[in-house]
Subunit: 347 residues, 2 copies
């Protein structure tokens, strides 16, 4: 830990802290912006890098220098206010003993899925996230240095329910909702699994901050299918626990806690409902990135008017689609900055 | 039309009009209940019938005597307050010239999908729903007679956006949201397609009422992915148009309009928001049908308390899953009746 703290102290000073100020509720001269899945397949340089090195998706995730390079690709192209480490939420199931690969044209393939609670015995419950996921921590430290203070770096994790969903259903869509069936037919074993995931996620997030992550994002992308009752029972308590325990563990280690964003799909955050004292993030429809320039800019304007320019971080509602024109991502980023600066200047 | 009117007049009198009264806002002594996909794969007699006749899904849909038999299967087992004709929303794309089949283990397979607006030329725009879908009308007339007034019979259709989604994406889930991309990149051609679908849906619904349907259900199951802005632009106007024009066309033909239910997934109808003067339908989580008896009954009780016992039709939020125990469907139906009668008696 001493080494890591020393590393952290040695990181280059930040020249753009816009997103950190928005997260803390401080005044911002313009709205900070980043995009879910901003590094990845829609960027030609991503495909070129992958082809040149002849590697698979998880090879890149597990090689810190490669993860670092891919994290930086969108930062070089666009005026983004945050980077997010190139990785995948499924590194946690991998650590627990489930083989996962991304197969071209087929998506995510697990070597086995959890069918019944009996299968929980197959999981490596004592897996040590701090050693097994050291490649993510190394990638974060390397990327934080490489960013040279240009913008802050996000670490991230999947939320327990979303991870459970993938480990049972094999993906975010499945013809039969087996994971949801677990919640009803095996509630105790479901809680056991969610609790295990929660513990691993906390260790993982703490490790990422120790390695240099300046913000954390928790993705509960599958929360939408739970409905309000099941969300309250099987998602929210674990999200709260993660937020609380990550902070506690960082304080115990004498490390300043970092802002944590929690994304869950059903939330359509509205300033009117949330009030003025919460920082909101989102929620540009990624399909609008297919628009013509004028429509795109108008949609950005509408979004900023809805959310306001303070305590707000602009982002998409889902990840960037792989067939989006990168120029439109640039238009989106610049439009967020331009319109929010205009509104701030005139108010 | 004269023949059909005569047929309609000759239908047996209704002995259970509970759901019609709830739909019209009249007082009901207990809450009426039916289930989306109440006829189908979770019933062993469905599988036995299919195996015995060695037929595929659409063979049954297109043979009125078979569709009639399958519609009646859940009515024989459970104390349901409505039947719904056994059919599929994809009969409309079929009429427009798209081959669709259901393949065991693979789901719905189209012989081609709409890739670009150029493909709209492949559609039979002048297809005559009244002749091409006469098998549905025959099935409805036959089933209405066979029901012998035991409960009313629903006709149904997919909504334009949901049909468009299937015709472009091939199903309700797809890795790339091509249908949504159409709305952004080809808005005019999207409207043209939605308008065409709207016209066919109106003719189809009118035909079903003429054949004997006593209620209509419009499924916009994919509306959830639109988000509020796109829903307002590309789904709602067509739903309104369908409701208006179906009624107009029935009145022109001197036929009494029937209640029309419009389902769209994002709506989580709440009595508090909807007010007392709207009939709500829904929204029991189909996964709760996997519960133990006591949990199932408690969940029904909670649902009825939320919705109230008047102007309310109990149903699921999605279709019945194929691996549900049919006994639990019976428990659900009986619990709705029992608890709503109890509440009505004590108030």
């Amino acid at each position: 830990m001493t080494t890591q703290l020393t590393l952290t102290e040695a990181f280059p000073p930040l020249t753009n802290d816009l997103i950190l100020r928005a997260a803390r509720g401080e005044k911002t001269e313009r709205v900070p912006v980043w995009l879910m899945r901003q590094a990845g397949r829609y960027l030609p340089e991503y495909g070129e890098f992958k082809a040149k090195h002849n590697v698979g998706f998880f090879d890149m995730v597990k090689t810190p220098s490669m993860a670092c390079e891919i994290t930086l690709q969108p930062i070089r192209r666009f005026n983004l206010d945050a980077a997010i480490i190139f990785s995948d939420i499924l590194v946690i199931p991998q650590v627990l003993g489930m083989g996962v690969d991304v197969v071209e044209g087929k998506g995510v393939i697990f070597d086995f899925l959890l069918e019944t609670p009996e299968d929980l015995k197959k999981l490596y419950k004592d897996a040590n996230v701090c050693t097994d996921l050291s490649y993510v921590f190394d990638a974060i430290t390397m990327t934080r240095h490489a960013l040279n203070g240009q913008c802050p770096l996000f670490g991230f994790s999947g939320a327990p329910w979303t991870l459970m969903k993938f480990m049972i259903d094999g993906g975010s869509h499945s013809p039969l909702p087996k994971a949801r069936k677990w919640l009803v037919t095996y509630p105790n074993e479901s809680r056991e699994l969610l609790q295990l995931l929660c513990e691993k996620v906390v260790d993982y997030l703490v490790g990422q901050v120790k390695a240099g992550a300046q913000l954390l994002q928790v993705f509960d992308s599958c929360a939408g299918e739970l409905g309000p009752d099941k969300f309250a029972e099987f998602s929210l308590p674990y999200l709260k626990d993660i937020a609380y325990r990550t902070k506690e563990k960082l304080l115990e280690a004498h490390i300043e806690p970092v802002p944590m964003m929690i994304e869950n799909m059903p939330a359509n955050p509205k300033r009117r409902i949330a009030g003025k004292h919460v920082t909101l993030q989102g929620n540009f429809d990624p399909c609008l990135l297919y628009s013509q320039e004028n429509e795109l800019k108008n949609a950005v304007k509408t979004m900023i008017k809805r959310f306001g320019t303070q305590r707000y971080i602009a982002n998409l509602g889902h990840g960037v689609h792989k067939d989006v024109n990168p120029d439109n991502v640039g238009l989106f980023v610049d439009a967020v900055h331009m319109y929010s600066e205009e509104i701030n200047a005139s108010s």
